[in-house]
Symmetry: C2
Subunit: 309 residues, 2 copies
């Protein structure tokens, strides 16, 4: 059977990489011929999870059409979050938990999206539906993905399905999910060893909002004041990237994974800044406190989309 | 719970109406509060199937936002095939078997598409997945939808899943699907009592192909020469509608449901006509024979999409 690549979004997180591995395994069991790849290097948290469950980091690709005609997407659908040449290949399968935006196909396809906290929660259900047994290491990486996306079931994106999946997968993986979950999240919060430029690209997504180019980056920390000591350097890096990439708005969400609060740094053109303030209130010195905000998908993007209309 | 409307596409066929009824029943069993409606009057075939299984024709709506905030779509996703004010409501669920095009949401949603012959085949699987028993009349209307979309399992869109669903649903509905299927298809081929204008609108869909407005209508017959006696009147009706609606191309596919061949009538601007001929070969006197072509979705739209690129 013709080979297909399976991958998550650019700036991959544990869901993007972990669910790609899980989907590739599932589809191969069902008779497809797939390879899980990634659109970037694993971040610290993902590297920790991959190592814990004995996986090597997937091969990194930037384009797909040079290797295959067909691909399967997990954890994203928006073209600007995918391989650079996504319009040159046929997308045959998508499993995702985001809104659908600018995703167009010529042919009918398999597309499963559910408004749950993590793509791996949907994947866990697909394994059951297709009657494929989940190996221990696959259960471990799916568990890691759900812990990551839901901040250990604390994000407002978390659903009953995510809770159920975490319990079931932790059992198969043979770990205490609360203990392992804290270890995993902490592994992703070491910002001391990274430049501001690296940090603002670690988990960043671009959105086209009513014609405006909006970038929303997020970093997880355990010590917010320590991160804010680097505020000016963050802003400088955000300005440099915004100029180069012509972003109308750049928002950096700095999230404390222990208490589920965030502070955001924001820069943008007058009009875009105005839309941002309409959604979230006044920004002072390029900074705004966002208590309780931890989810870009549920607590940031819809609000911005509404304000930019 | 807040009420939601469930509906299929404009110019509804048996899949659009039948699957809306089946999905509304399923979702209500799962705790939602929905009503199945239709975006147009049932055609002869659908009316026959509804009567056979004891359903009243669903209420017809043109807009949704005047009644509800949220809707569920079946058998379509492209906005121009939906209610006129689709951008004013939130789409919470989609079950479909078409390509995805210009379908954008602000929020994550449930979206299930599979490349099978009929949306009711996916619906049949959803009933099993959710563990909801299928009543006899719902089985009958889902069976009718699959017979309609696959031309009694003869269309090239037909998959193994469609075969399986037809057998299972016929058993629950208590009918011989081959005998009932022919009766149902024939009920939709009576063109004698309808004007050309009615016929070209009966099962017609609009597509935006690289900026061109393309209309593809289809009628089912059992006697192709009898239909072609009305060729000039069909062309006149197509020209009138094209001018009013600014279509760049209007194609009427006249399909013999007994031998699975079609003849198409085609009118369009120079550029659009050229793209059409690139896809299907030369059109003579606005007419082209398309042996073996019965599926707009699989044998017409992808080919046109490729040619219009």
């Amino acid at each position: 059977m013709e080979k297909e690549l399976v991958f998550g979004h650019q700036n991959p997180d544990t869901d993007a990489i972990g669910t790609a591995i899980a989907y590739s395994y599932l589809q191969n069991k069902r008779g497809f011929n797939t390879e899980a790849v990634a659109l970037g290097k694993a971040n610290d948290e993902t590297a920790f999870a991959l190592a814990k469950f004995g996986f090597k980091e997937p091969r990194v690709i930037k384009t797909a059409a040079n290797e295959v005609d067909k691909v399967m997407l997990v954890d994203h659908n928006e073209p600007q979050q995918s391989v650079a040449d996504i319009d040159q290949v046929e997308v045959t399968h998508v499993v995702d938990h985001h809104r659908i935006m600018n995703f167009n196909t010529t042919m009918p396809l398999f597309y499963l999206a559910e408004p749950v906290g993590c793509t791996s929660t949907i994947m866990w259900k697909l394994y059951q539906q297709y009657g494929v047994e989940i190996p221990q290491n696959i259960a471990g990486i799916m568990l890691s993905a759900i812990i990551s996306d839901t901040l250990l079931l604390k994000s407002p994106t978390t659903t009953a399905d995510d809770h159920e999946a975490v319990k079931a997968l932790a059992k198969i993986a043979g770990v205490d999910y609360e203990q392992y979950g804290l270890e995993e999240l902490k592994a992703g919060t070491n910002i001391a060893g990274k430049s501001e430029h690296e940090l603002i690209n670690l988990d960043a997504k671009s959105f086209d909002l009513a014609g405006k180019k909006v970038r929303v980056a997020q970093i997880n920390v355990v010590d917010l004041p320590e991160a804010m000591e680097r505020k000016e350097a963050f802003l400088q890096a955000m300005r440099t990237v915004s100029e180069a990439e012509h972003y109308d708005l750049f928002m950096l969400l700095i999230t404390n994974v222990l208490d589920s609060d965030s502070t955001a740094l924001v820069i943008g053109s007058g009009e875009a800044q105005q839309a941002f303030e309409q959604a979230f209130g006044p920004v002072k010195d390029a900074e705004i406190s966002l208590p309780g905000v931890v989810s870009r998908k549920k607590q940031v993007v819809p609000q911005l989309t509404g304000a930019f209309k």
